[in-house]
């Protein structure tokens, strides 16, 4: 490779180790980038929609993941190409921001790239294409706003929310009991939501899974589960009206941080030390007892002496509880995390209506349930399923559903799914394109074509004739001026997505279009790729 030559045709050395680098430039570079982006989109295309297929991903260590969540597939795919990495980033940012539609955004970007390639071949400058896309995306987003609907829900009327979550879940393997899971997700989100500020802290929802049982056994627990058991096998397994001391200090003799030595040189000293030590344990347990705690949850371990004293004084205790769980327990029970025994006061105790230990299966698997908490804001979704991969996939699906419910609480505008919005946007963009003079017109029209590719992929995955179906739906939309017609993936018999109750969130869709356009613009603007060559 070379950047510049002198009059004899010898290259100037400009880059460090210039000989070992490969360089692609101009249309060549753009074409390579586009084909890489398209390749990624092609992988995800078949996972789109309720009839989308799953992928098996085998990690470098041989672990198997089965999923159809776009973000997860891309993350675990071990991608090497720079442009492909951009697409991975794209899906990840959709995941962070919205949590759903991670597959759609990549497919959309892929379609935009494909259209751009055709325009490039006709000699249109990439920047003009990018500008055209930008204009078109703005039109599409505005149009979305236009066709979106507000819908009302309250804490009693959760049906609309459940319907939306069901749309999300229907493309996952868990669609067998999507109704059940959707209800769980909505209830979970509502119980932690701050409806006045319209905000939801998803950290308050803990998603736990344990293999065994069936998917239908998945439950929502108004409280916390901890994968621990009582520190002493003979402590009571069930405590009602528990007052919980949440400690981050171990039940052990103190270990001052400054370096010190306790020298023993006489028998008396030895004996006083012994007494002192016993007193330590006694004091610690007594303090907990004095403030009225009926359950001790500790981040650290216990000495066996302390353990017995606790047991002896009828004070059940749990040890080695992780920091995150400890915080959740503190939030849920309204208690304070106490770092020192001296600071223990009755007000700092958390309260829970019921704490119980439950065992599962034939192995010694125990979980601690903390329920009916004083502040029931923190909830746990406890997933059961036939095997490990199933649980993992359910976790991901529930995450998506939770995000959707949260987005709806933030902004209760919805659009209809099943590709109907894409078709409607495509019509709007197409119509608007003619108003623009100049080359951008072509780019805008190409954008409209790219929008069509999502309903097309949906139809394809559902085993329908893609072109036929799409054109039929499109003409129906224009004829009846009704943006609610989409692809009938589930063979229900109607194209009207309002009747099928297939919703998606407005911000999710808007974000998809904006993010996809941005990434495509970025890729189009690259005209020189310099990379170290493989050796």
């Amino acid at each position: 490779m070379a950047l510049a030559f002198d009059e004899y045709g010898r290259p100037f050395i400009i880059l460090k180790e210039q000989d070992q680098k490969t360089r692609l430039r101009g249309i060549e570079a753009q074409k390579a980038n586009i084909s890489a982006g398209k390749a990624v989109a092609r992988i995800l295309r078949t996972s789109l929609g309720p009839k989308g297929m799953d992928k098996i991903l085998q990690s470098p260590d041989g672990d198997v993941t089965i999923t159809n969540d776009g973000a997860t597939i891309l993350e675990q795919m071990d991608v090497d190409n720079q442009i492909a990495k951009l697409m991975v980033e794209l899906s990840r940012s959709q995941d962070y921001e919205i949590g759903d539609g991670t597959t759609g955004v990549v497919v959309m970007a892929g379609a935009l790239l494909e259209q751009a390639e055709r325009l490039l071949e006709r000699g249109i400058h990439p920047i003009r294409i990018a500008e055209g896309y930008e204009l078109a995306s703005r039109i599409a987003v505005e149009h979305l706003e236009h066709i979106s609907q507000k819908f009302d829900f309250g804490t009693e009327d959760i049906e609309p929310l459940v319907q939306t979550c069901m749309t999300t879940l229907s493309s996952k393997i868990v669609n067998r009991c999507k109704r059940h899971l959707a209800e769980i997700s909505v209830k979970a989100v509502l119980s932690v939501a701050d409806l006045e500020r319209k905000d939801v802290n998803l950290d308050m929802i803990k998603v736990e899974g344990k293999v065994g049982g069936k998917l239908e056994d998945t439950e929502l627990i108004y409280g916390i589960t901890v994968d621990k058991d009582m520190s002493h096998p003979q402590m009571p397994k069930q405590i009602e009206d528990a007052k919980i001391a949440i400690l981050t200090c171990p039940f052990e003799p103190p270990k001052p941080k400054t370096k010190h030595k306790v020298d023993i040189d006489t028998v008396e000293k030895f004996q006083t030390l012994r007494l002192q030590e016993q007193k330590y344990f006694d004091d610690m347990v007594q303090k907990c007892k004095d403030v009225g705690a009926t359950l001790v949850i500790c981040q650290w371990g216990f000495d066996d002496e302390a353990n017995h004293l606790l047991m002896h004084r009828n004070l059940p205790a749990v040890r080695w509880v992780g920091g995150v769980e400890l915080e959740l327990i503190a939030i849920a029970t309204g208690g304070r995390i106490v770092p020192r025994f001296q600071e223990l006061t009755p007000e700092k105790l958390g309260r829970a209506g019921l704490v119980r230990e439950r065992s599962f299966g034939t192995t010694k698997d125990k979980m601690l349930y903390i329920e009916h908490c004083a502040n029931s804001r923190a909830v746990t979704i406890f997933i059961r399923g036939g095997n490990k991969m199933m649980i993992e996939e359910t976790k991901r699906s529930i995450h998506d559903a939770l995000c959707v419910a949260r987005n709806l609480i933030r902004n209760n505008s919805i659009v209809y799914g099943g590709g109907s919005t894409e078709i409607s946007c495509s019509i709007a963009v197409e119509a608007a394109s003619d108003k623009y003079p100049g080359v951008e017109q072509y780019a805008i029209r190409a954008f409209a074509d790219a929008l069509d590719s999502i309903p097309m992929a949906l139809a394809e995955n559902s085993g329908l004739q893609p072109i036929e179906t799409l054109s039929a739906v499109k003409s129906q939309q224009i004829k009846e001026n009704n943006p609610h017609y989409g692809i009938d993936c589930n063979d229900v018999g109607t194209n009207d997505m309002r009747q099928q109750d297939v919703f998606e969130t407005l911000i999710g869709k808007q974000q998809q279009i904006l993010l996809a356009t941005q990434v495509v613009k970025m890729i189009l603007k690259i005209d020189d790729v310099i990379s170290p060559s493989h050796y």
């Binding site: 390579a32 084909s35 390749a39 990624v40 078949t46 297929m53 799953d54 992928k55 098996i56 991903l57 085998q58 470098p60 260590d61 089965i66 159809n68 597939i73 675990q76 795919m77 071990d78 991608v79 090497d80 442009i83 393997i173 067998r176 293999v211 065994g212 069936k214 096998p233 003979q234 003799p253 270990k255 370096k259 010190h260 030595k261 306790v262 020298d263 023993i264 028998v267 030895f270 004996q271 030390l273 012994r274 002192q276 030590e277 330590y280 002496e305 353990n307 017995h308 002896h312 065992s359 599962f360 299966g361 034939t362 698997d365 399923g385 036939g386 095997n387 490990k388 199933m390 085993g463």
Partner: protein, 527 residues
């Protein structure tokens, strides 16, 4: 520069037909591997570990076989996983679940070849599984209220489970053993309370269930070998030098005499501790940790039986059996609950001395002593017994029972066939395929027993079209027999779990259309 490689160098991508083929082949290969172990006449496998010593395991427990396989095929891994979960959750049916999932996939492969979309197959399978489960539910027997009949049910289930294992020769004996043990648990599923001690020597039929508790330990020297009306203190405390736990403490002296003094003080401390323990009024002391010679001697002087180094489970079980609490401090003897038992004595099993606690108050825990010719036999016997215990303990909680030996499969097949006839559309092919996969199980059982499976299954099918039929395959006589008369039963929960997880796994594998394998992890990254 047509299509750029987007994955890393060694990463692999398989799509569409090829991916599907890879998963089918993997799953079916695993099924064929464990297929021959199914049923009362199933064969065993030898597993040789690659580790040091190349240990050999002989087993016909599906979960154990699959656990020790090193598999690279992702679909096969899914099957291994469901078998593991089945083992954890219900304990038995680990082979059946894999075989059923494999058969479902085998049928699905044919349908895919006939150009039916996997999603259609899945929805058909789902309908069929639900229908099959309901059909089974209608025919379950629940003897929850009738204790005698329920015990008979348990006995039948235990015998059915054991009949496919190494213990089949003495199945009546072991079934009785397992039922007795589980009945003592009184509804708890904590199998930890049942201790299984394996001692080589003797024959399998020399195994026995002990009402009390046997601890695999020796009694300290010079201490009584037999105690009647024992009061037992179960403890977890240091009985060696009782370290000072305050951080940074150390002894620093300037003369030899001081050393002696400190040493004396230490001894005094231990003596005091022992005195405190003795003050509980006990005559048996069991500690989880070591007991040094000095305190042991003191205990011996006081006529107390001291047992050291009982493992943690042993301690928990002992506390459970004798009703005492596990103590670590000994300052207030009046409030520590002591354990009681009628008699402690040393017994001999084979050549080993064990301590036997009998006449205990609450009989939740118990001990099963297994005897057998070799370690392999004992290990396999333990696994078989474990399966039986698991199934029984689950049955105590979910008391529904169905008949065995291919009967449930035939009942389900009948219902699923009916459904297939009523369902319009392509799904009916999938439903039909489901019923074929179900029939495969009795077929394999018959094949493994060396019977004419085609003939038997056809007969069975005909029988089942009569009303309220109890027909199943009688492997012993090689004919169709009445399962209610032959007393072959299975737990409904096991059957249900097999059906549901197999369908779930098959569904999962069917949904896949692409396999992306990452480059195997290397020590050095090449980039």
């Amino acid at each position: 520069m047509a299509i750029e490689r987007i994955l890393k160098d060694d990463a692999n991508e398989e799509k569409g037909e090829r991916a599907r083929m890879a998963s089918f082949v993997g799953a079916i290969a695993i099924t064929d591997l464990v297929k021959t172990t199914l049923g009362p006449k199933g064969m065993d496998k030898i597993l040789q570990s690659t580790g040091r010593g190349q240990e050999v395991t002989v087993t016909n427990d599906g979960a154990t076989i699959l656990k020790s396989l090193h598999i690279d095929n992702p679909a096969a891994k899914v099957l291994i996983d469901i078998s593991k979960v089945q083992d954890d959750e219900v304990g038995d049916g680990t082979t059946s679940v894999v075989v059923l999932a494999g058969e479902l996939l085998r049928e699905a492969e044919k349908l895919v070849a006939a150009k039916i979309h996997p999603m259609t197959i899945i929805s058909g399978y789902r309908m069929a599984a639900e229908c099959a489960c309901n059909a089974l539910l209608q025919r379950v027997v629940d003897n929850k209220d009738n204790a005698v009949k329920f015990k008979m049910d348990l006995m039948k289930i235990a015998m059915t489970t054991l009949s496919s294992k190494i213990l089949s020769q003495d199945k009546v004996y072991f079934a009785q053993l397992a039922v007795d043990a589980v009945m003592r648990l009184k509804g708890s599923t904590n199998l930890e309370a049942i201790q299984i001690i394996k001692k080589p020597g003797g024959s399998l039929s020399d195994s026995f269930l002990d009402e009390g508790f046997i601890l695999d330990k020796k009694i300290g020297l010079g201490q009584p070998k037999r105690i009647e009306n024992a009061k037992i203190l179960v403890a977890n405390t240091a009985m060696d030098t009782d370290k000072v736990k305050i951080y940074g403490a150390r002894v620093r002296v300037d003369s030899m005499s001081k050393v002696a003094e400190i040493e004396e003080a230490e001894k005094e401390k231990m003596r005091e501790k022992v005195q405190k323990i003795i003050a509980h009024g006990i005559n048996c002391f069991v500690n989880r940790q070591l007991i040094y010679n000095f305190p042991e001697e003191l205990f011996a002087d006081a006529g107390i039986l001291a047992i050291e180094h009982a493992d943690f489970d042993g301690i928990e079980r002992l506390a459970l059996v004798t009703g005492g609490e596990i103590a670590s401090t000994f300052d207030n003897p009046e409030s520590v609950k002591l354990g009681h038992c009628k008699l402690i004595e040393e017994i001999m099993i084979g050549e080993d001395k064990l301590i036997h606690f009998s006449g205990v108050e609450i009989g939740q825990a118990c001990t099963i002593v297994l005897r057998g010719a070799s370690h392999h036999v004992l290990d396999e016997a333990e696994r078989s017994l474990h399966d039986a215990l698991c199934v029984l303990s689950q049955t105590v909680n979910d008391t529904r029972v169905v008949l065995g030996a291919g009967w449930p499969e035939m009942v389900m097949t009948k219902a699923v066939d009916e459904l297939a006839r009523q369902t319009p559309g392509k799904k009916s092919h999938a439903i039909e395929a489901f019923s074929r996969a179900l029939i495969a199980i009795p077929t394999i059982i018959a094949d493994n027993a060396g019977l004419d499976s085609a003939d038997l299954v056809a007969q069975l099918r005909a029988e089942h079209h009569k009303k309220e039929c109890n027909a199943g395959i009688d492997v012993i006589t090689g004919s169709v027999g009445d399962m209610a008369e032959l007393a072959i039963s299975e737990s409904f929960k096991v059957k249900q779990a097999v059906l549901l997880s197999a369908t779930e796994a098959a569904e999962m594998i069917l949904r896949v259309d692409e396999i992306i394998t990452c480059a195997p992890r290397k020590r050095e990254d090449r980039m």
